[in-house]
């Protein structure tokens, strides 16, 4: 377990960087708001960033050894399917995660 001092320093680092990222743009928001390109980018950034993070969280999956990423693929399809169908974040996240844990127990 890491030392408390290091842990707090690490957490404070994330606090400062995150706050600056969230707060600093407001300083120039009036100029930014008039910008067409930033509005255009801002509308398309979130979906792409989330997709990149999905791939990032699955980067440890091995496709060459059994079960060949099958649990990840099935659980992801189930999560997306549930969310397209019911539009309920709770159901989608819990359903997908429980299915994944179950598949790991069966196939892993």
């Amino acid at each position: 377990m890491p030392e408390t001092g290091y842990l707090l320093a690490a957490l404070l680092t994330t606090l400062v960087v995150t706050f600056v990222l969230r707060a600093a743009p407001f300083l120039v928001v009036e100029r930014l708001r008039e910008s067409r390109i930033v509005g255009w980018l801002g509308a398309r950034m979130p979906v792409g960033i989330m997709v990149i993070l999905v791939v990032y969280t699955l980067r440890g999956t091995s496709f060459t050894t059994a079960p060949h990423g099958l649990p990840e693929a099935i659980a992801l399809v189930a999560t997306v399917g549930l969310h397209l169908w019911r539009r309920n974040a709770l159901l989608s996240i819990v359903g997908g995660t429980l299915l994944y844990a179950g598949l790991l127990a069966l196939l892993g």
Binding site: R22, R31, V38, I52, A101, L104, A105, G108
Partner: protein, 259 residues
């Protein structure tokens, strides 16, 4: 502003119904985070410390692994910057101007997460009062911190369950679908998948940096090729303009004056 038109209907009640769907996602994810924390060897009370100091769900999950690996602070700072960089775009449509007072404004900026942004920024401009915006943010943080504490306490009684970390993947997938519904722009997620896979193959150690930079660069390029030309204002400027992630923040000011 509904809660000012009906002063008898308090802002917190309105915010409660505003945030109910997000709460259904945040509470179980907070639970999963708390469980993962104690299963990683942390005392239960570290969960609320993480959730208050980091307060960025996806980053908190990543931080567990990073601090356990004794990652240098500079690397943690860079990771935080890259994972949370998307937040710079939230200022564009988050109605901070309705929140009055330096303390409240500071909290509103601190608590500007994906979820609060999604709830607040999808409303019509002027639809929410400052009090309602703040209550939405306070409630979202309460769901997250409360779920985390519950998970950490209950999780310490549970056996180790492999696969719970998939909740993070599921959350990102859900947020991607919700973000897609807002814009319905098909090329953006396709470009992102391409960037993510290429980055993972080319630079697995710096996957997030490479993928996000590449994605923003491609978006800027696409804008200049399609929208920028249609705009008329940047005629002749497309070729001279350097592409890359820099212009995303550097260009807007000049772009805005042109338009």
């Amino acid at each position: 502003m509904p809660d000012e038109i009906h002063p008898a209907y308090p802002a917190w009640r309105a915010a409660l119904s505003d945030t109910a769907p997000v709460g259904f996602g945040l509470v179980p994810l907070g639970l999963a985070f708390g469980v993962l924390m104690v299963q990683s060897g942390f005392a239960w009370w570290w969960t609320p410390v993480f959730s208050v100091l980091v307060y960025a769900g996806s980053l908190e999950f990543l931080m567990i692994g990073l601090v356990l690996a004794a990652t240098p602070l500079a690397t943690i700072a860079v990771t935080t910057f890259l994972v949370n960089f998307r937040h710079v775009f939230y200022a564009l449509s988050f109605p901070l101007h309705v929140v009055r007072g330096p303390l409240r404004r500071t909290y509103a900026m601190y608590a500007l997460t994906d979820e609060t942004y999604a709830v607040v920024a999808t409303r019509a401009p002027g639809a929410l009062s400052g009090a309602r915006v703040l209550w939405i943010q306070v409630l979202c943080q309460a769901y997250w911190v409360g779920g985390g504490i519950l998970g950490a306490l209950v999780g310490s009684l549970l056996p180790d369950v492999p696969g719970l970390d998939f909740a993070l993947t599921a959350l990102f997938a859900v947020l991607a679908i919700d973000a897609f519904r807002a814009t319905r722009d098909v090329p953006a997620p396709l470009l992102a998948v391409g960037c993510a896979i290429v980055a993972q193959l080319v630079a697995p150690g710096q996957m997030l940096v490479v993928a996000m930079t590449g994605f923003v660069a491609l978006l800027v390029g696409r804008y200049l090729l399609t929208e920028g030309r249609r705009d008329g204002g940047s005629a002749g400027g497309g070729g001279a303009r350097p592409s890359g992630s820099g212009p995303a923040l550097g260009d807007p000011a000049t772009e805005g004056r042109d338009a």
